[in-house]
Symmetry: C2
Subunit: 361 residues, 2 copies
């Protein structure tokens, strides 16, 4: 079913595909094309990596979107959002990224250029110049943990069929941001070699309308990320420890349960690790915090190329630290400002926050 869809897609874009192929041959800096001439980067099916060294890489799949956000503290205009965007802005602090997504012709070229400048390869980002970018609008309640969706316009996401460029076949770490489960699965199926680690984020929406599809995709990944209520919904268990056991029987060897301001839990077999959220004076906008967490987590793993449980503990702290920046301002703004020194200082705060000496007992 998915294969057929991909075939149809390939036929549909064949002329554009040929044009790109020619253009790419002329320009070794193909990522630059994606930023300066973003429309040329869409559905880039060219195979141009034969002459390049195969650098194992982090591939990120996720939406790139416009958001309009209301919180008890303020209201944003239509700003840049989307799971893929947050993951990229965050993970690019640690490692280069190969991005798979789709945007409309209304998506600012400057935004793509900014990501490219951060080391995000946009060859896998389709730009549908005659369509509009995915739009979401929501309003947060006082507790900042619950929100109402005011508007959702799928636009380019409605028929999104991701295409993995040949140059992305070196994928060592795959981060599947929240998307239609079948779309996430399609990326896994397009990869010729299984990555070292596949991480998947998802949400309750898919549990309600596509549980069987969701379970098929979950069965194919190494690590699943959900929040606490989603873990309960997916497993039918109230206890998070029981929920974790049930979910790990569905396929993933690792499970991260995100609890927002209450931190996150990492499960693997009988092992469990807990990372708190940094207690903040103000949470300005929680949008993208979960995606940023995911970006920090996989960014650290990809940078260190170590997928041991011990290193995942560090990665979950890195994810928590990055998420604590994300919520300080609207959208991706804070993520764009921070430096390595800011990140190091925040990580040191986490050490202080949870480090204790048990020898005294």
């Amino acid at each position: 079913m998915l294969a057929i869809k991909r075939d149809k897609k390939s036929q549909h874009v064949s002329l554009e595909w040929i044009f790109q192929r020619v253009f790419y041959l002329k320009c070794p800096y193909n990522w630059l094309i994606g930023s300066i001439y973003p429309c040329f980067a869409s559905n880039a099916l060219v195979s141009h990596t034969e002459n390049k060294p195969q650098i194992m890489s982090l591939v990120v799949v996720g939406s790139m979107a416009f958001d309009a956000i209301e919180t008890p503290f303020g209201k944003s205009d239509k700003i840049i959002g989307g799971a893929g965007t947050y993951i990229a802005w965050c993970a690019s602090n640690f490692t280069p990224i190969k991005q798979i997504s789709v945007v409309g012709g209304d998506f600012p070229e400057s935004e793509l250029a900014a990501l490219t400048a951060r080391g995000v390869d946009l060859e896998g980002v389709q730009i549908k110049k005659d369509e509009k970018t995915f739009f979401w609008s929501g309003k947060y309640h006082m507790d900042m943990n619950t929100r109402d969706t005011l508007d959702t316009q799928l636009n380019v996401l409605e028929n999104f069929q991701p295409v993995v460029p040949d140059s992305f076949q070196d994928c060592e770490f795959l981060m599947l941001g929240n998307l239609v489960p079948a779309v996430q699965r399609s990326v896994i199926e397009q990869l010729k070699n299984r990555p070292k680690l596949i991480i998947m984020d998802t949400m309750n929406f898919w549990m309600e309308i596509a549980m069987e599809e969701l379970k098929k995709t979950i069965a194919m990944v190494d690590l699943l990320m959900v929040n606490d209520s989603e873990a309960r919904q997916l497993s039918g268990e109230y206890s998070l420890v029981k929920a974790a056991k049930t979910i790990m029987q569905m396929g993933p060897k690792y499970l991260i349960i995100k609890k927002g301001e209450h931190g996150a839990l990492l499960f693997h077999g009988e092992k469990v690790f807990f990372a708190p959220a940094l207690p903040l004076e103000e949470v300005f906008d929680p949008t993208g915090a979960g995606d940023t967490f995911a970006g920090g987590f996989i960014g650290h793993l990809a940078k260190t190329k170590d997928i041991s449980f011990e290193n995942m503990k560090t990665a979950i702290i890195v994810g928590s630290a990055m998420a604590s920046f994300c919520v300080e301002k609207f959208g991706t703004q804070r993520l764009r400002e921070i430096s390595k020194e800011d990140i190091d200082a925040r990580l040191a705060e986490f050490v202080q926050l949870v480090n204790f000496d048990i020898d005294l007992v």
Copy 2:
């Protein structure tokens, strides 16, 4: 006002007081009297410590009660409960305790004997043989964080006027379990020398009916313990970080905010420390978990005689570990069963739960 009440009390018990004085002179093991003949230990105002070495001690003030508990997993008979009871059962794992409380004639002598055998000095426990012990009945919701009170019978607590025995004047650590704020304050005022550390637990009920009284007592303590919703109510701030700052301006230099299954935060000036709750497969009965946490916290501090912020970090982990036992069975049952080995093993689980290596970043 309180002084007058105490005077009245002293007159009221004068005959009993004389009897006790005589009896105590005959028996050096006065704590034994409290268990074998508990009625004799009530209002023990005797000064019998002149010839004993002054061992600095932990004094615990709190209710000793009967509870009837309903949870989604079961229903208890009328069982032993009360903040003071839980604190004593827990803290006695770490240090001897001097207990201040009140019970009725219906409180089982065997229970008092069991506490005495744990090293709990009951000289400060008044036994009103013609009255009934405080009774509370409640029903927990599925999330185990919220509960409905089904019945409250104050009984002996209605006119409880704590009396600090002379032998308790060596108090170095004072743990004020949740009680009428004026009663808690009365104990502080009866102590001739200020303890090294005064810790106070309280609850939303007093914020609703006696906020000014409560604030007077809070102003006199070193460390306040409340849960997250109580911290918000007391401070009028939603952000827990802001709430902590506001509350610390009311007097206490330290603040612990308990978040149930989401752990606990310790604040001191600009410093903050977080301890998670152990993720448990089943929370059977959360009654007394907060009191047990308090008992572990002050028990560790009293044992190590170190009230530095660094040692408080360890103490909060000890408190969390002890609370994780408490919720495994109804009432105080689990606290009665556990050994030092059980506690050590649980503490090791906490190290695994939160310990990470940030050098890799």
